[in-house]
């Protein structure tokens, strides 16, 4: 069995980390009672979702 290229491994780990951060933010948004805090989560979620898809 050949290992995938190193950069695929690093990207895979990075993708897992990104997914975990998104999960944390979404959990906090759903628990929060502060609408302002919920609305501003967009500026965190959008770049992380883009990163998850590896769109810059």
């Amino acid at each position: 069995m050949t290992l995938p290229p190193l950069y695929m491994v690093v990207m895979g780990m990075y993708t897992i980390l990104t997914a975990y951060i998104i999960y944390l933010v979404i959990s906090i948004v759903l628990q929060s009672k502060n609408p302002w805090e919920q609305a501003t989560s967009i500026i965190v979620l959008v770049p992380f979702i883009m990163r998850l898809l590896f769109i810059k």
């Binding site: 690093v10 759903l30 919920q38 967009i42 959008v46 769109i55 810059k56």
Partner: protein, 402 residues
């Protein structure tokens, strides 16, 4: 369901919707630009025809062969090495769509770093596209990319990029810079793979003369200039004198041996028959003291901050009242290609002669860039399909399908 939960779900839905819109917008840059070859083009190839490993990647790019009526030397024109420097790309497109060759052969790559065209610099407020106006309201739209290739092809960047084979050290991001990747190698970075493809093209087509067209910021010392690999200095000097006689201010220098990885140095050192050059025009959109940053700035070339900087003597290049519009920069490039072909012919006796369709600097200044690009047919042309995914996605999809 509580109100707090509802607003939370709305925020998440809004994030997903905005991400989807941005993703689709970003993916539009993965389509190739529409190019309509003119009568001078005899064959359209791909870089992967010379180096098959590039097939199915966004590093693969179109190679236009223009056979002259009579035999002679072979001239390779590289546009779009840096995808945020549009004058080289536009010059190459005018050659492909409008020019003819009388003696010799011209090979043109308008998007040398095609992967550079698949992403841009949104945080620099760079536009994704520029639109070139033509007569009667027609227009052509082209991508405005980034200096380096798509990071999805090679990630993460190292702290230090060590150039092959000379081991010169550059900052990590330069590992994606096509003009630090020469002579290239098959098992290196993605940029080195593409450079290796160009090396293979050199071997197959026996290139005699090469120009790689770049742009720089107005406050950069090396602009409005031609840089020659040291063996090509005589030909470059003759070309520069011819341009100066036509009242085009241009400087000339020999590329230093200590600046490795550049197309002119590495290819010139590798191929003894080759005369290799790099040129630079002035693009205010790349400058650090620019004002409003949009497509208009690179096309019209006017900027109040640069007007003021010129008055204070802070710029290295002359800054005329009209600024540095695209037509002026393309005009300079075209005049330079003409001058290089003449100087090469005089020096070596091997002829490269352009047909009469190649416009001059004055023609460009009078009519503009759009005049020399072909009109899209009635009803338009379908954009080319996305033919490959950036590396990360491509490798994942390969893993899933194998």
């Amino acid at each position: 369901m509580s109100n707090a939960k509802k607003t939370g779900l709305m925020a998440i839905a809004g994030s997903l919707a905005l991400s989807a819109v941005l993703t689709v917008n970003y993916m539009q840059m993965w389509h190739d630009d529409i190019i309509i070859p003119g009568p001078g083009v005899s064959e359209v190839k791909w870089l992967s025809d010379y180096y098959p490993d590039l097939k199915g990647t966004l590093g693969d790019t179109r190679v236009y062969i223009m056979e002259g009526e009579e035999p002679g030397g072979t001239f390779l024109i590289l546009g779009g090495t840096h995808a945020d420097e549009p004058s080289g790309n536009m010059t190459a497109l005018i050659v492909v769509e409008h020019a003819t060759v009388k003696k010799g052969r011209v090979i043109v790559m308008p998007n040398t770093s095609n992967t550079g065209y698949t992403n841009n610099y949104p945080q620099e407020a760079h536009p994704q596209y520029i639109t070139i106006k033509q007569e009667n309201g027609a227009e052509r739209k082209f991508r405005y990319g980034s200096r380096t290739g798509n990071s999805a092809e090679h990630w993460p960047d190292p702290e230090v990029f060590i150039q092959y084979p000379h081991k010169q050290k550059y900052s990590g991001e330069e590992c994606r810079n096509p003009n630090r990747a020469y002579p290239g190698r098959p098992n290196g970075t993605f940029a080195e793979n593409v450079a290796y493809g160009i090396q293979m093209l050199h071997r197959a087509e026996h290139i005699d003369l090469q120009i790689d067209m770049h742009e720089g910021q107005p406050e950069y010392p090396f602009v409005n200039a031609l840089s020659a690999q040291k063996r090509a200095a005589d030909v470059g000097s003759m070309a520069v004198m011819e341009m100066q006689m036509a009242d085009l201010n241009i400087g000339m220098e020999t590329s230093p041996d200590s600046f490795r990885g550049l197309s002119n140095i590495e290819m010139g050192d590798m191929f003894p028959r080759l005369y290799a050059f790099t040129s630079e025009t002035v693009n205010p959109l790349q400058g650090k003291i620019r004002g409003i940053t949009d497509a208009k700035l690179t096309i019209e070339g006017k900027d109040a901050f640069y007007d003021e900087a010129a008055k204070l003597g802070y710029l290295f290049a002359p800054w005329p009242e009209i600024g540095s519009p695209l037509k002026l920069r393309v005009g300079r490039n075209i005049q330079e290609m003409q001058a290089l072909a003449t100087a090469f012919t005089d020096e070596t006796g091997t002829e490269i002669v352009w047909g009469e369709d190649l416009p001059t600097y004055e023609d460009l200044m009078e009519h503009g860039v759009g005049y020399y690009l072909n009109r899209l047919p009635e009803g338009g042309v379908e954009r080319p399909e996305i033919r490959a995914l950036p590396g990360y996605w491509r490798l994942w999809s390969k893993t899933w399908t194998s």
